[in-house]
């Protein structure tokens, strides 16, 4: 069973601020982490490998420093890391990204299972997983919250819905995107950390994956960002304190002006 997991390095949401003048994310001094959803995808891939055998390859498109998330995934049990990196990929939107990842996966061989996080917490589009599946000509299921069964021939998974979940039986090849309820990611192991430190990360350039230059990076990205702005705050909040009686009193005072 060969599994590929697409992961992304993102700024740690705890540290991110919006520059009030330019309305862009100010990433200065911000820690980079593995996209939280992707951590769950890696964990599930490792669990499936532990029960069915095979190999787990983690794949990321990003600048050279994105290698760090590949090593992190290896320290948590993944077997190989592949970095897709080239200046020509810069500025890619989800369309160009899914094309690039699909080209990289085609170069790497065949995989029964492709896992992605539901979305990356920096862009929050949730488009790359489904887009990649279309490019790979694979069926896909999004928002997996539980793997009920995984065998050599297929899986039974639960897809999270607003009002419950669907139970879906899939056969390979298939692409799944996952949500955080799926599992609890493990802490890196000592052996894994040592392996990760020594691991040779394979790097693929635009030429390596035979990508058409018109389809990658900024030029391959039809999405144009017109404006970025912080949404209007949803009105003021205030916390009442004191004993229950005191709080009720304060609440009545606040509500009175609105009463007929």
């Amino acid at each position: 069973m060969n599994i590929i997991v697409c992961i992304k390095q993102v700024p740690d949401a705890k540290d991110v601020r919006l520059d009030p003048k330019t309305n862009t994310l100010s990433r200065e001094g911000v820690q980079s982490i593995m996209n939280p959803y992707d951590q769950h995808a890696v964990e599930e891939a490792v669990r499936i490998r532990e029960s069915l055998g095979g190999e787990v390859t983690v794949l990321t498109m990003g600048p050279p420093q994105a290698e760090a998330v590949l090593r992190q995934a290896i320290s948590c049990g993944a077997d190989h890391g592949v970095l897709v990196s080239d200046r020509a990929f810069a500025g890619a939107d989800t369309w160009a990204t899914s094309y690039t990842l699909a080209r990289a996966i085609a170069t790497l061989g065949s995989f029964e299972l492709v896992l992605c996080g539901k979305q990356a917490i920096d862009g929050d589009t949730a488009q790359v997983g489904p887009g990649l599946a279309m490019r790979l000509d694979m069926p896909f299921v999004t928002c997996i919250q539980k793997v009920r069964e995984a065998s050599e021939t297929g899986m039974v998974v639960e897809r999270m819905m607003d009002d419950g979940y669907d139970v879906i039986k899939v056969t390979y090849p298939v692409l799944l995107t996952v949500v955080k309820d799926l599992n609890e990611p493990r802490v890196p192991s000592l052996k894994g950390t040592m392996k990760a430190k020594k691991a040779v990360i394979k790097t693929l350039t635009a030429a390596d994956i035979k990508a058409e230059s018109a389809l990658i990076g900024l030029s391959g990205s039809p999405t144009k960002v017109v404006k970025v702005f912080p949404p209007e705050p949803r009105g003021e909040r205030c916390m009442l304190t004191g004993t229950v009686d005191e709080q009720v009193e304060q609440l009545v005072v606040k509500l009175r002006p609105y009463l007929p």
Binding site: R186, V187, P188, S189, L190, K197
Partner: protein, 385 residues
């Protein structure tokens, strides 16, 4: 302070820190309240390979020394020494096999302990044998090709949770201390049961029970080392493990200082954060000084033990006494800095203070450790004359 850790040592610290922050800290209050054994957390620790730290590579471990295990225990101690004790007691339980066991015994037990598949426990103490271990009454008699054990051990950490128990029993009472031997008893051996779980002041996440042997029969090859060498193995075991208890103490004290110092910055009285009052600042300063001194001594002792296996009693006892006394003082002062809030269960320092007390008692009371240091000094100065 920078202790110039190697890259591998830093890995151990980072992994143990992550487990502590993500798995132990969020659960510790609940484990304490429910007297609940932290099985899931121990599984996390096992998956991170940390049970393998003291086990040689040929038996599936990391091949680390005393210093490596100290680094992990310090982190766990910062989160919860109940969890830390459960982890440490499993190492304690296999030290006799590591120190005096046969190759077959090492092959049989160490790989499972390294991967966390089986836990271990160490059974020495009895109702009438605490500090004075020579008072033990559990006996082992050879009957054909089986040993038959009779007696009751008390207050054994990981009792009822472990699968491997290393226990001390008298094989020849007439020989006194030279008549004790160590044995490996497995969960499920006929005639072996664990008694009720004790209710305790602190370290409630750890399980403490009796071990009851009623005509318990085990194969003759379960004796550890030669007959009559039980106490030698016990002494070496405790000398090797005490720096681990000292490390739990350093971690616990650090955790208490972290709580107290951040509270002191927020709490405003008389129009100022209380950290601005010199009385509070000096308490925090003394806490920090004691912790750093303890940490330096524990690290130094652990490195000494790794380099000089034959000469460890004194440094092992010194670091245990010093670090655990610091932990008791620091946790008590942490409650003081936080005032009434520190006394409330909503804040973690009251648990830390309750937990700290055991560190001065188990693995040899601090009085007994001072005896050891004193006796060693006596020997050293006799040689000088």
């Amino acid at each position: 302070m920078d202790y110039f850790l190697s890259e591998e040592q830093q890995m151990i610290v980072d992994i143990a820190r992550q487990i502590t922050d993500e798995k132990i800290v969020p659960l510790r209050a609940e484990l304490d309240e429910k007297h609940q054994f932290p099985r899931e957390i121990l599984n996390d620790i096992a998956r991170a390979d940390l049970f393998g730290v003291p086990i040689p590579e040929e038996f599936g471990g990391f091949g680390g020394g005393c210093f490596d295990i100290v680094l992990a225990l310090e982190q766990f101690g910062r989160g919860c020494i109940g969890v830390g004790t459960a982890f440490a007691a499993s190492s304690l339980g296999i030290y006799p096999i590591l120190i005096s066991g046969s190759d077959e015994q090492k092959k049989e037990y160490l790989p499972d302990v390294a991967t966390g598949k089986r836990f271990a426990a160490f059974g020495l103490t009895e109702a009438n044998a605490g500090s004075d271990a020579s008072g033990i009454q559990t006996t082992a008699v050879l009957d054909g090709d089986e040993w038959v054990l009779n007696g009751t051990k008390q207050w054994i950490t990981n009792g009822g949770e472990a699968q491997i128990y290393t226990v001390v029993a008298m094989t020849d009472r007439s020989k006194g201390a030279r008549g004790a031997s160590m044995f490996i008893v497995e969960e499920g051996d006929p005639g072996f049961t664990c008694g009720h779980k004790e209710k305790k002041m602190g370290i409630r996440a750890s399980s403490t029970t009796e071990l009851i042997f009623k005509d318990c029969r085990i194969p003759s090859d379960r004796i550890i080392g030669r007959r009559g060498t039980g106490f030698i193995t016990v002494m070496k075991t405790l000398d090797s493990s005490r720096p681990g208890i000292a490390a739990l103490a350093v971690g616990l004290a650090q955790g208490a200082l972290d709580e107290a110092a951040s509270y002191a910055k927020q709490r405003v009285q008389f129009g100022k954060p209380i950290v601005a009052f010199q009385a509070v600042q000096h308490m925090l300063a003394d806490m920090a000084i004691g912790i750093e001194a303890a940490r330096s001594l524990v690290y130094g002792a652990a490195k000494h033990i790794d380099a000089h296996k034959g000469d460890m009693s004194k440094v092992s006892s010194m670091c245990k006494v010093f670090a655990t006394d610091v932990a008791m003082k620091v946790t008590t002062d942490a409650v003081q800095v936080m005032g009434g809030y520190g006394y409330m269960c909503e804040y973690p320092v009251e648990k830390m203070m309750r937990d700290a007390k055991i560190l001065q008692i188990y693995e040899g009371t601090n009085q007994i450790q001072r005896n050891v240091v004193g006796q060693e000094l006596n020997k050293e100065y006799a040689r000088l004359k």
